[in-house]
Symmetry: C2
């Protein structure tokens, strides 16, 4: 194949992470997701536990933190972590791999051997999936989806200046509710291997 790295961006509850894992397995290459946090911890003063809350697109205190700096020339903690995360992703992408989330499509935008994927699904399918995967909690499923969608869009917009989920940021976008998780993997294998 002419692509060495595949990035998977995904709507919350679409099963994009599972697509990434299965695709990597089929290609015989590693899939990086939470491992990225371990690497950031190794490369910084931040603990893994602290970073777990900070490096996700679901970072709750994201907005309050990026506006917390006292001076316009002072980087927020989020900016510092994003810079380390970018370095880690670039290092990992030196060898063939699949990378899930974390603006990896944008971080690797200057390379022409990277294939960028977006996985999404309709709200009904996503609601069912998050209850099955993460269980019920005090928030209604539609509220959980809306909150995460807004957080991901804000995180992506802040660091990339692009619109979350715009197909023009990706090479292929797949509806996992319509195509199935395994269907998505099969289509991606075809798209990647044909090039």
């Amino acid at each position: 194949m002419s692509f060495n790295v595949i990035t998977i961006s995904r709507d919350f509850g679409s099963g994009g992470r599972t697509v990434g894992n299965k695709l990597a397995e089929a290609l015989g290459i590693p899939c990086y997701d939470s491992e990225i946090v371990d690497k950031i911890a190794e490369n910084s003063e931040f603990s893994k536990e602290y970073l777990d809350k900070k490096t996700d697109e679901n970072n709750i205190g994201f907005f309050s933190n990026i506006f917390k700096s006292n001076y316009y020339y002072e980087s927020s903690e989020e900016d510092i972590i994003f810079a380390i995360q970018s370095k880690v992703i670039k290092q990992l992408a030196e060898k063939p791999c699949v990378i899930v989330g974390r603006c990896s499509d944008y971080i690797l935008k200057d390379r022409n051997d990277v294939f960028n994927v977006f996985i999404y699904a309709d709200d009904e399918a996503r609601k069912k999936r998050i209850i099955k995967q993460y269980g019920e909690n005090e928030k209604l499923p539609e509220r959980r989806l809306r909150d995460k969608d807004k957080q991901r869009a804000a995180y992506y917009r802040y660091f990339t200046d692009k619109q979350w989920g715009d197909p023009r940021n990706y090479d292929i976008c797949l509806n996992s509710a319509k195509l199935g998780i395994n269907g998505c993997v099969e289509i991606l294998l075809k798209a990647i291997n044909d090039k």
Copy 2:
């Protein structure tokens, strides 16, 4: 396959129409595009020449016309033509076919045997393609793209109340500049035949 109808929506200059024609040929079913205008003419008082200017997403006088009605209960000519177009598309979709453009994804949204595709490409690839396909004219290629993009987005928003190019309106979105026209056709055949 479990889909009887495939709709192809596409960014101007992305080659989506060619993808539709080649896909239909591979599946041995008809591809409807300009034929829809002939059918609307048969079903209305409007001439084919007049409709050619009216039924396209690139309808130039679109905005001035939809606001031209004197009374709030009076349908604009655009609304009347869209109603006939919807009827024609529903009739054509009674037999297996590929339909290019004309909000066909939205018009057929209540059917579960319809597969909705969006084809797009980066601006550089689209500029090259429109010059090759339609030749140069007095407008700069980037201006031609921007004008058509805005017109399509406005037309789609007016009739469907959805955002043009949002992947969540489709089952699959393909970057023809990255995957190639034939690559898109191959991927679509796999996606359709696997279901």
